[in-house]
Each structure stands twice: as structure tokens, then as C-alpha cells.
Symmetry: none
Subunit: 222 residues, 4 copies
DNA sequence: AATGAATGAGCGTTCATTCAT
DNA sequence: GATGAATGAACGCTCATTCAT
């Protein structure tokens, strides 16, 4: 099963405490980070102001600088710690499954579930990964690679198992899958998150595996 | 054939003249728009300054306000007129083809070709379409719809032809295709545009049609 | 004669125009610089605010940044151009005289006259030259050297002429003269500039030349 | 002899205890004051922060406010108590000598010795006494007066003894001496304190007494 | 007494926009 | 039409000071 959102929710804040090593006052660190992501989601990074974040977090402007070096650092921390957790979770979910099909299903379900659970993260993530911005370029590259590597592993395992065909342009397949999932999330966000995102997982996987072609039509076979 | 970039190049400025209806000094309007897109691509919309755009266009700061209401308006015009052209072109390319497979191939090739040809447009387009920004939300929605409608048409035609299977979740299929193409472009941009983007079209279409599954494996068939 | 202040006043602003090369709008450059020196004099560099300077100059805050790179730059320009003028003037005055005694008298009179004429400059100069501050350290060092070199020349010429005794620790003599003049100015500034500073020149020179010792007292001679 | 620094060192802390009247935890008061002077010397008063001082003193930021009313008060206490000690010492040294020449020599030697011994004090003293600052204006005026009065006494005694000539502009002579000593210290500080400052005392006194003029030259006599 | 997290007023600086020339 | 100097609101950030523990 892939009830990954439960796992995260149960010890999310605790994990952050450990990562950050600030102990008790870590509450405020998280409150600010959460508030920042909320404001970034609403306004965009450059349109968000420290005052707005401070107000949202219920602290004074100056307090933010006790926990973050500067405005940029808030976004960097978001990627370094918060988003990282999610991607680590993806790996766990994949490792919990046996065969390629199950792995792919766990990955995509977990992906959709986590982004559905934390919409603000999803919005910021979407925005920043398409920005031509030096700010978190490295963090994004690293995280994207992490994801693509998982997909590559799954595909290779599937090829070994015989469930995935062999003549594939692997680096394209990785993008093909990530891009489609990403766009499904993007559409969901733009719709205002009205419907259940996770329910998209199975139809999407079906498209990945079987494509849209009619197998009975001879011109689609090689 | 789909030498769509040639078509655009041949009468691009003329079309803009007509759209803009400024006739004579329309040269400057276009110079500013081109310069703006270049600067937006490099710095991002909010990090770009009017001064930088003016300098790039070789005009005075104040001159920009003779052609555009304000900074936001530059981006809006970019979407309303410039990007619109490209999407109109997609439609032409699709209409030039007969069957669904050919239409899809023309669409994707033209999409990749145009974005490869005008990298600055591609960068700005990528950035803005993932931004949670009121600014050009309507323009983007409209343009995305235009694209998705084309895809829907193609899929439906393919289903009528028997080349595309029937049991498909159409609105998901549209995202599936747009998302994958988008991500392929995104990856290309992040790589610095080193390789030929159009060459990705055929392998990508193959993935759309046949999926990654091994058709000889019984568990992949319905 | 050493009516050096007349000379400066007559073409001061013109010279700045040339130096700055800004032509007509140079008026504002000078207004800001003058205003800044006034505010620096009253509040001290770090306590002065851009707003105060702008208000004093009768311009908007932002206007200052059209003429100066930043706050530091205002002080640097003050030293590089404005104060430099004064020291160049000292050299002129000295060169106008023939013998060492006359040169020394011209130097000190001009020094006192200029600092009396432009009290704000005097205050800022006094403050900054005693600050342990990297900001204008080089400018000060250069300017001090310029002054000390003049004194050294005078002393050496006096020794050649036979009017100044030979067994002198030259580098100490330079400080001895500069320090005394400086302190006389400092006292005058602290008194609120109530009395005529130039009238101190002759008694001061008398002290430099003859010292305070009673020459008839044998224990004072070597 | 004028081993004034020895005297201070031997009962310095005890005296401070008495002055402060805090007895027991007076250690911390002194540690903070010493730390503050060190930081002021390095950064300047307005560039120094309470945090830096607290860190240097090894106490918490808030602790400083148990011993000082505010940041300004630290500087005021420095002048009221710490620097005052040094000037009291000058008086002692002068009182220990018999004739004017010896008194002047003791004063200047002690002055140079003390400022050489405590460079941070010297730096702060130099900076603040040339600042046009309300903050410690009274303290400086008082202390300067104390010094000038000593010089005045010495000169008057010398005149009575016949070792110092009578036709002197006394208030100018005082500045003349203080200024020259001050500048010698200033130069030493700017050089980085590389050489022995006290060795400047005798050549400097020689300049005070005999001046730079050649007594054999008739134009130098009155 | 001692701490140091929290505060928020205040500053330097930027930049979209205006308007006199 | 074209200019670019001038504007001033707005923002990121600092740091003296307070106060609950």
C-alpha cells in the first residue's frame, strides 16, 4: 500500500527538528517556513514580502532573520529540507514494491498524493522548477535527478522482467513520465484543486504502459 | 512537410504590423517586445527592469510607455500577440495533415521547432505558464485550451480512424501529451539547448502511441 | 598675498563641472554634495541619512543615486574632488612664495583660511581623518602625504637657506606642524567658530620657528 | 622617573572597583567596558554592535543592560571613568616633577606611554575627540580642559623660572603642544603602532622649546 | 543576576512611472 | 514622437532594546 501521506504527516515536524537541530524553538522555524511557502504560493517568490511572511507566521519581521539568513535562504531551505523529504519518501515507496509495475504505481500515487496534500508546496515547486533562476538551480537539478533516477531504475527493472519493452530511449522515457505527471498536477492546481488528484494515477499509468495507440491496428506496431 | 518556422519567419513582422495596427513606427514596438522577451528570459519577469529592456531595445526608458501601458502590459502583449502566432501556426500545421498520426506528428514537430527557434520565447513561456500569477492567467488558459483542443481533435479523429484506441480518458490524454512535450522542452532549455530538439519528436510520438509496455506480456493487455 | 579663498570661490563650481564632466545638470551634483557635507558635519557620516541629505539638497531620495553610487560614494567623492581642490590650492600658495618662511606662512594662512571659509568641510575633514575607518583611508593617506611633503620641502629649503636649523627629525617636524595647525582648527570648531582663525597663523608660526623656550636661558640651548 | 604605566597597572582594577562602587561582580562591568573599547576601536562607535561587544566580553547581549543604561552610556562611562584615570595620572606625573622642563617632559612621556600601552583607548579617544557629536561633548571638553590647564601651569611656572619666554599667546601654546602630541599619536596609530612612541617624547619637547628656527639667523629673532 | 529570543522602528537602495523639454 | 532626469513608494535587512524564563 502507498499511504505515504500518512507517514509524512505523522512525524513530519519531528524530522524537521532533527534536521535543523534547533530543538524546542524549532516550532517557529517551521511556522515561518510554512508561512513563507504559503505566501510564495500565493504571490510568487519575488512578489512575496518579508512582512507578509512574518504576518502570516505571526512573528515580527526581524524574527525571520533569526531563522533564515535572508529571503533567498527561505526558498533554499524549503528545497533543501522540505521538498527533499518528499522525494526521499518517493524512494521509500518505490523500495517497498517488488516488481516494476507496482513500483511505478507507488511512485506516481505517492507523487500525486503528496502534492495534493500540500498544495502550497506543489505550487511553489511548479513555479520554481520552470524558472530560469540561479537561486535554487542546483537544488532543483539534484532533486530532478533523484526522481529521474528512480524512474530509470523502474524501467530497467521492467525490461529485465520483460514487462517493459527493450527498444526505448531511456532518457526520453524519464522525461515523458515526469512531464506527464507534472502537467497533471499543474492542471489540477489551475483548476483550484477541485477533484481528487490521486485518482489520476491509474489511468495515467495505463497511458504510460499501453500508449494511446490501438494495438490491433497494424500501422502502430513496429 | 512541416517547415513551420519558415512560414513564420517569412511574414512574421507583417503579421505583427497588422495585429498592432500601428503601421509606420511599428518597428519600435517590435524591437521593444523582442528586447523585453530577451530580458525576461534572462532575468525573469519581476527581476527584469524597464531600463534593461529599454537598453536592449536601444530606446529611452520613457519610450516604452508610448507603446505599452506599463510593465505588465508588455508580458500581456507577448502572450496576446506573439505567442498566439505560434499557436495559430500549430493549427495550420495540423490542418495540413490528413490522418491523426500525421497530424500529431506535425503538431509535435512544429511545437518543438518553434520553441527551438525562439529560445527566449520558450523560456518565458515555460516560466509564466507554471506561475500562480493573476497577470496572464487568462491568456495562458486560453492558449492552453487552444492546444488541448487540437490534441482532442486529433485523438478523436484517430479513434474514428481506428488508429487510436477508444477506451481513453480524453482530458487526461491531452495533459499526458502536452506535459511530456513540455518537459522535453524544459529539459532541453536547462541543458542549454545543446542538442536538436526536433529530433525528439519521433521517439516521443512512439511513446505516446505504443507506451512503454511490452505488448507480448499478457499482464499489460486489458 | 594669500587670498586663496577668493581664488577658490571664483571658479570652484566650474572646476567641479570639468572634473565631473556632467555639464549643466552638475548643479544638482554640487547641491547634493554640499548638502551631504552639511549633514555629515552636523550628524556625522553614519548618523546622517540619505533622506536628510536629500531634503537638505531639495531633491528626492532616489535622485541622489543618479549622482552617487551609494552613501559611501558621497564621502569618497567629497575627498576625491572637493577636499583635493583645497590641498591643490595649498601647493599653489606655497609655490607663489620665494623663501621658506614666506612659504610656511602662506601654507598655514591658506590652510586656516580655507577651513574657516568652509566650516562643514572642516568638520567632516577633522572627523574622518581621526576615524579608524577603511572607507576613505586611502584618500586621507594620500592627502596627508601631499600636505606633509609640502612641509618637508619648506623645511628643507629653509635649511638650505640657513633660516631653519639642520639637526631636525624631519618626519617629526612635519607632524609637529600639521598637528598644531589641526588642533588650532579643532579648537576653533569646538568654540563654534566665534573668532578669526586666520589671525592665529602668525603667532603659530612664531611658535614653530622660535619655540616656547627662552633663548637667553642656557639650559635651552644645545 | 615616569613609569606611569606601572602605577596604573598595579592597582587599576581596584580603582575601577571603587569608582564603580559595585564591589563583587565588578569584574563583568570591566570586562564589558574593555570589550566595548576594543570593538569601538576596531569598528567605530556607530558601526559597533551590542552583540559584538557582548560576544567579545563573553556575556549575553542583555547582560550589558544590567551594567550600562544603553549603548551611548558605554561610551560615556569610558570617558567618565576610564579615560579620566589616565588624565589623573598625567597630573600625578606632573606633580612629581619640580621644574617646568621636567614637568613637561613627564607629561608628554606619560601621555605617549599610556596611549601606547592601551591602543584601543587611544584609537577611541582620537576618533571621538574629533567627532562633532553631542554624545560625549561635555566629557571631552572637561578632559581637554584638564589637560590644557596642566600645560598652562607648566608654561606659567617656566615663565616664572625664566626657562620659558614671556611674550607668549598662552591659549595658543596649549593647543600647539596638545595638537602636536596628538598628531604624533595619530600617526603612530595609522602606522599600525610599529615603532616606539615614547621615544618621540624628547625630540618633540626639543621642538616645543627651541622651535625649528635657526637661532643664529637674525631674521628669526624678534 | 543572567540569558538570548523576539521585537519593530528605521535605513539604504531600487525601479516603475511621469513629464518637462 | 522621443527622451532621460526626477520621483517617492516600497522593500530587504539591521540592531538597540526588552522581557519572560
Amino acid at each position: 500500500m502507498n499511504e505515504c501521506s500518512f507517514i509524512v504527516r505523522s512525524n513530519g515536524s519531528k524530522r524537521r527538528s532533527i534536521i535543523n537541530g534547533k530543538g524546542k524553538s524549532n516550532n517557529k522555524y517551521n511556522r515561518i517556513l510554512e508561512a513563507a511557502v504559503k505566501v510564495f504560493a500565493k504571490k510568487g517568490f519575488y512578489q512575496a514580502t518579508i512582512s507578509q511572511i512574518a504576518k502570516e507566521a505571526g512573528v515580527a519581521d526581524g524574527t525571520i532573520y533569526l531563522y533564515f539568513k535572508n529571503k533567498d535562504d527561505i526558498l533554499i531551505q524549503f528545497f533543501t529540507y522540505k521538498t527533499r523529504q518528499v522525494f526521499d519518501l518517493f524512494r521509500q515507496e518505490v523500495d517497498n514494491a517488488q516488481n516494476a509495475a507496482e513500483k511505478l504505481r507507488n511512485l506516481i500515487r505517492c507523487h500525486l498524493a503528496e502534492f495534493q496534500r500540500d498544495r502550497n508546496m506543489a505550487i511553489v515547486y511548479q513555479a520554481v522548477t520552470r524558472q530560469n533562476d540561479q537561486l535554487v538551480r542546483n537544488e532543483i537539478r539534484e532533486m530532478t535527478k533523484l526522481y529521474l533516477d528512480i524512474v530509470a531504475e523502474i524501467v530497467e527493472q521492467g525490461q529485465a522482467e520483460g514487462t517493459i519493452r527493450k527498444n526505448l530511449y531511456l532518457s526520453l522515457v524519464k522525461r515523458f513520465i515526469l512531464g506527464a505527471v507534472d502537467e497533471v498536477i499543474n492542471t489540477w492546481l489551475r483548476s483550484g484543486g477541485k477533484y481528487d488528484l490521486v485518482s489520476m494515477a491509474d489511468p495515467l499509468i495505463d497511458l504510460f504502459i499501453r500508449g494511446i495507440g490501438n494495438p490491433e491496428n497494424s500501422s502502430n506496431s513496429q
